[in-house]
C-alpha cells in the first residue's frame, strides 16, 4: 500500500477540500506529515498511518476514537 498515494487521493478530493476549506494550491508540494492541523485531514492521515496488515476495522475505529478523545484530531 502506497500510503502517500492514498493520502494524496484524499487531499485531491474536492469534497474534502470544501469541508476543510483548504485550497488546493496550499496543499501542493507539502509532505503529508507536515500538513496543518485540520481535524478531517488528521482523521484521514491517522487512519492511513495506522493501517497495516494486522489492523482490523474495530481496532482502527477504536484508535480514531482514542485520538479524538485525546484532542489529537
Amino acid at each position: 500500500m502506497n500510503k502517500k498515494a492514498v493520502f494524496q487521493s484524499f487531499i485531491e478530493n474536492e469534497d474534502l477540500q470544501q469541508k476543510t476549506k483548504l485550497r488546493k494550491d496550499k496543499l501542493e508540494g507539502l509532505d503529508y506529515i507536515d500538513l496543518i492541523q485540520d481535524p478531517l485531514i488528521n482523521t484521514v492521515k491517522q487512519t492511513i498511518v495506522h493501517m497495516d496488515d494486522d489492523s482490523t476495522v474495530d481496532k482502527l475505529a477504536r484508535k480514531l476514537n482514542q485520538l479524538f478523545n485525546n484532542g489529537q484530531l
Binding site: S9, E12, D15, L16, T43, V44, V57, A61, N65
Partner: protein
C-alpha cells in the same frame, strides 16, 4: 521471468518422450501455428496443467482438475501400448529463467508435473477407468539452478513461489487466457469484472477498508450523540418516540435508495433493450413489408394461374360455343344457298304453273250455260231473289237451286287444296336463316381461335412473370432474414417487443419517479425531525457534536474519494486501452474515434466517440473483442513496471479478427509483454499473413508449425496419434 521451453511426455495428442515434444521460446513474440485440431489448444492446456493442475474444456467453458480428467490426460498411444502391469506417465516440464536477475543462483528453474497410471486389466476400450489404477493426484517438482547445475529444491512452498513469480495470481486471468474467455474476462456490464481488474492494478481495497472504518466511527459517533440527547430529553418517552420515528424514516430512506438503484438499473436495461430493438426494428419492418409483398405477389400469381387453367379447360369448348367448328363449312353453305335458291325458284315456277292450271281448270269447271248472266249478276239475283232479266221473283225453286248449285261448284274448285303435297319452304327457310346467321361466325373462326390462343399465351407469360417476381421476392426476403438474423416470427415479435419494452420502460420510469419523490419526502421528513428534536433539558456536549460532525464528514469523504479513485483508474485504463487499441488498428482505416468507458449505473460500457464526444458507429462483435483485449493489455501494461515482466500465453485470441488486426495485435504485444506465446490458426492457411509475421512484425522470437500425424476427421484410431512440430524461425 520468461519461459525458455516447455516439453511434454505423453500429454494428450503429444505422444512420446520429452525430446520429441519440446518447444523452445525466446523473448518477444512466439507463435505456434496450426490447423484446427492440430494440438494448439492442447499445448495451451499443458501450460495450464503444469502450473495449475487443470485443463480447460471448451464445451463447458470451464477448468477441470486432474482428478476429474484422469485417464484422458494420457496420450492414446501410451494407453494402447500398455500391457498389464505397465505404468504410463504423463509429464510436462517447464524451463524458466529470471532474466532480470543478475545472480547465477536461483535465476533458473525447472518445474515438473507428473501423473501416472498403471494398467491393471486389459480392456478393449483403453479409456475405461476399470482397466487402470490411477494416482489420486499429480506430483510437483522444482529444480533450481545452483551455479551450474540444477538441484532438486525441496524448500516448502517452492513450487507455488516460483509459479507466482512467473504469474502473480491476481494477474493470471489477464496473462493466460483462451480467445473464447476474453468475453467474460472483461464484462463491461458487470461491476465486479472491472473492479477485479482495478484491484489488480491498484489498492482500491484500501479505500474500501477506510470506508468501513469511517462508517464504524460515524455510527459510533451518531449513536453517542443520540444517547446524550436521550439522556437530556425532558420527556423520555417523547424522545424515544422521536428517535424511533427517526430510525424508521432512516430505514425507509435506506430501503428507498436501494429500490432506486434497482429501478434505475431496470430503466437502463430497458433503454438498452430499446436501443437494440430500434436497431432491429427497421430490419424487421422491412422483413414484414417484403413478406406482405410476397403474399400479394403469390395471390396475384395464383389468380392468374386459376384464370389460365379455366381458359385452357374451356378452350375446346369453344369449338361449339364460339362455333369454330363451322370454319370449313362456307363452301357447303354456298352450296345450300344455291340449292335453296334453285328450290325456291323452281317452287315458284311450280306453284305458278300449277296455280295457272288450276285457274284454267277452275275457270273451265266454273263455266255456266251460254245465255246465263255472269256470275256476279247471278249472285246478285240470288241475293235479291229476283231475276234481272225478267225482273221477277225467282220463285221456281228448282231453277234457283240449280243456279246456286252451279255457283257452289265453282267455289269448291277454287279452294281445292295446296299446290304441292308438302310445303317445306319454312323448313328450308329456317335452315337458310341458320346458315345466314352463322356465316360470320364461320368466317371469323380463325380470328377467334387466334385471339383465344393469344389470350392463353398472355396468361402464360403473365404467370411466368409473376412466378419470377415471387422467386425474386423470396430471395430478397431470405437474404434479408439471413443478414439480419430475423425470421417472420421474430420480426413480428420485434415490433410488439419494442412497444412493450417502451411501455415497460415507462412503467419503470414512472415507478422510479415515484420512488425518488418518496425518497425526497422521507428525507424532508428526516430533516424536519432533525430540525425539531424534542426539547432538551440542557445541551449536548460540544465534543459529542464535534465527533459526530467530524466522523460523518470522514465517512462522506471516504466514499467520495473511493469513487473518484475508482473513476480515475477507469480513465487510466481507458487511456491505456485506447493506446493499445489504436496500435492494433492502425492498419485499418475504417476504425476511427476513440473508446470511452461510460458510467451507467454500476457498470462502465464502452462507446466509440469522435473528438467531440459524439457517438460514432455502434460497436460490433469483432471490435468489442479488440476493445476487451486492449483493456486486458492496459491492465497488464499499467501493472507492470520495469522490474516485473510477465509472459502472455494465449490460445486463439485473434480468431474473430480480420487480418489487419492480427498483425496490429502481434506488433502491440511486444511493447507490453516481455514474452508472449500465442497459439494461432490464422497464419495456417494464410501464406501472405504468415509472411508478414515472419518479415514485418517486430520482436518475433520462435515460430512453430504443428501438425498431427493423422487428420482430425480420420481419427477413428487415435492410438498412433502424435504431433509433429517444425520450427520455422
Amino acid at each position: 521471468m520468461i519461459i525458455k521451453s516447455i516439453s511434454l511426455q505423453d500429454f494428450q495428442c503429444y505422444s512420446g518422450v520429452h525430446e520429441n515434444n519440446k518447444f523452445e521460446f525466446e523473448k518477444g513474440l512466439n507463435v505456434i501455428i496450426g490447423d484446427n485440431g492440430s494440438g494448439k489448444s492442447k499445448l495451451y492446456d499443458a501450460f495450464n496443467w503444469i502450473l495449475y493442475d487443470r485443463v480447460f474444456d471448451s464445451n463447458s467453458r470451464g477448468f477441470f482438475p486432474t482428478s476429474t480428467i484422469r485417464i484422458n490426460l494420457f496420450s492414446d498411444k501410451a494407453k494402447k501400448g500398455a500391457n498389464v502391469g505397465d505404468t504410463i506417465t504423463v509429464e510436462v516440464k517447464l524451463h524458466l529463467e529470471n532474466n532480470l536477475s543478475s545472480s547465477s543462483i536461483g535465476n533458473e528453474y525447472f518445474l515438473y508435473r507428473t501423473y501416472t497410471a498403471k494398467r491393471k486389466e486389459l480392456i478393449e476400450d483403453y479409456n475405461d477407468l476399470k482397466g487402470w489404477e490411477l494416482s489420486h493426484i499429480s506430483t510437483e517438482k522444482v529444480e533450481t539452478k545452483d551455479v551450474l547445475h540444477f538441484k532438486l529444491d525441496n524448500s516448502p512452498g517452492i513450487f507455488d513461489k516460483v509459479r507466482k513469480m512467473l504469474v502473480p495470481d491476481d494477474m493470471m486471468p489477464y496473462l493466460w487466457f483462451q480467445g473464447e474467455q476474453v468475453d467474460s474476462l472483461i464484462d463491461f456490464k458487470k461491476e465486479e469484472s472491472l473492479t477485479k481488474a482495478i484491484n489488480a492494478l491498484s489498492d482500491i481495497t484500501v479505500y474500501d477498508d477506510i470506508i468501513l472504518v469511517a462508517e464504524k466511527v460515524k455510527d459510533q459517533a451518531n449513536s453517542m450523540y443520540e444517547k446524550e440527547q436521550s439522556g437530556l430529553s425532558k420527556n423520555k418517552s417523547e424522545f424515544d418516540n422521536w428517535k424511533t420515528s427517526k430510525d424508521k424514516v432512516e430505514g425507509k430512506i435506506k430501503k428507498e435508495r436501494e429500490v432506486i438503484i434497482e429501478l434505475t438499473e431496470q430503466v437502463e436495461q430497458s433503454s438498452e433493450k430499446i436501443n437494440t430493438l430500434l436497431g432491429r426494428i427497421e430490419d424487421s419492418e422491412r422483413v414484414l413489408t417484403l413478406n406482405s409483398n410476397l403474399q400479394a405477389e403469390k395471390e396475384r400469381s395464383s389468380t392468374v394461374s386459376e384464370n389460365l387453367k379455366s381458359v385452357t379447360q374451356n378452350f375446346n369448348k369453344n369449338i361449339f360455343s364460339k362455333k369454330w367448328i363451322l370454319r370449313n363449312t362456307l363452301p357447303i353453305w354456298d352450296e345450300f344457298e344455291s340449292k335453296r335458291k334453285n328450290y325456291q325458284d323452281k317452287r315458284e315456277d311450280i306453284v305458278t304453273s300449277r296455280k295457272a292450271e288450276r285457274q284454267i281448270e277452275e275457270a273451265q269447271k266454273m263455266r255456266l250455260p251460254v245465255n246465263i248472266p255472269n256470275r256476279k249478276h247471278l249472285e246478285d239475283m240470288i241475293q235479291e231473289n229476283k231475276c234481272f232479266v225478267c225482273d221477277r221473283e225467282l220463285d221456281e225453286e228448282h231453277a234457283k237451286n240449280h243456279v246456286i248449285a252451279l255457283l257452289e261448284r265453282a267455289k269448291n274448285i277454287s279452294s281445292r287444296g295446296p299446290l304441292t303435297k308438302y310445303n317445306f319452304s319454312d323448313f328450308f327457310e329456317r335452315l337458310y336463316n341458320i346458315g345466314f346467321n352463322n356465316e360470320s361466325a364461320a368466317k371469323s373462326a380463325d380470328d377467334s381461335v387466334n385471339r383465344e390462343i393469344e389470350k392463353i399465351q398472355k396468361l402464360e407469360n403473365e404467370k411466368r412473370r409473376l412466378s419470377e417476381n415471387v422467386d425474386a421476392v423470396v430471395q430478397q426476403l431470405e437474404s434479408l432474414m439471413q443478414l439480419s438474423s430475423l425470421d417472420l416470427f421474430t420480426s413480428k415479435g420485434i415490433e410488439s417487443a419494442f412497444r412493450s419494452t417502451e411501455k415497460t420502460k415507462d412503467t419503470w420510469q414512472e415507478q422510479l419517479t415515484l420512488s425518488k419523490s418518496r425518497l425526497k419526502n422521507f428525507e424532508d421528513e428526516l430533516n424536519s425531525l432533525n430540525q425539531n428534536p424534542p426539547e432538551l433539558k440542557g445541551e449536548v456536549q460540544q465534543q459529542t457534536i464535534q465527533r459526530k460532525e467530524l466522523f460523518n464528514d470522514f465517512y462522506l469523504v471516504a466514499k467520495s474519494t473511493r469513487e473518484s479513485v475508482y473513476d480515475k483508474q477507469i480513465r487510466k485504463i481507458e487511456a491505456e486501452a485506447n493506446k493499445h487499441f489504436h496500435a492494433m488498428t492502425s492498419d485499418n482505416s475504417s476504425v476511427q474515434g476513440r473508446i470511452i468507458l461510460e458510467k451507467r449505473g454500476s457498470a462502465y460500457l464502452p462507446k466509440n466517440v469522435n473528438s467531440e464526444g459524439i457517438e460514432m458507429s455502434s460497436i460490433n462483435d469483432s471490435n468489442i473483442i479488440l476493445i476487451k483485449l486492449a483493456t486486458i493489455m492496459a491492465i497488464v501494461s499499467m501493472r507492470g513496471n520495469s522490474r516485473e515482466t510477465f509472459p502472455l500465453i494465449t490460445d486463439a485470441p485473434t480468431s474473430k479478427f480480420s487480418d489487419n488486426y492480427t498483425i496490429g495485435f502481434c506488433n502491440t504485444l511486444g511493447s507490453i509483454y516481455a514474452q508472449s506465446i500465442i497459439m494461432s490458426y490464422d497464419f495456417f492457411h494464410n501464406e501472405a499473413l504468415k509472411k508478414t509475421l515472419l518479415e514485418n512484425v517486430k520482436n518475433v522470437g520462435a515460430v512453430y508449425i504443428i501438425e498431427p500425424n493423422t487428420k482430425e476427421d480420420n481419427r477413428e484410431n487415435r492410438d498412433t496419434l502424435a504431433t509433429y512440430k517444425t520450427r520455422i524461425k
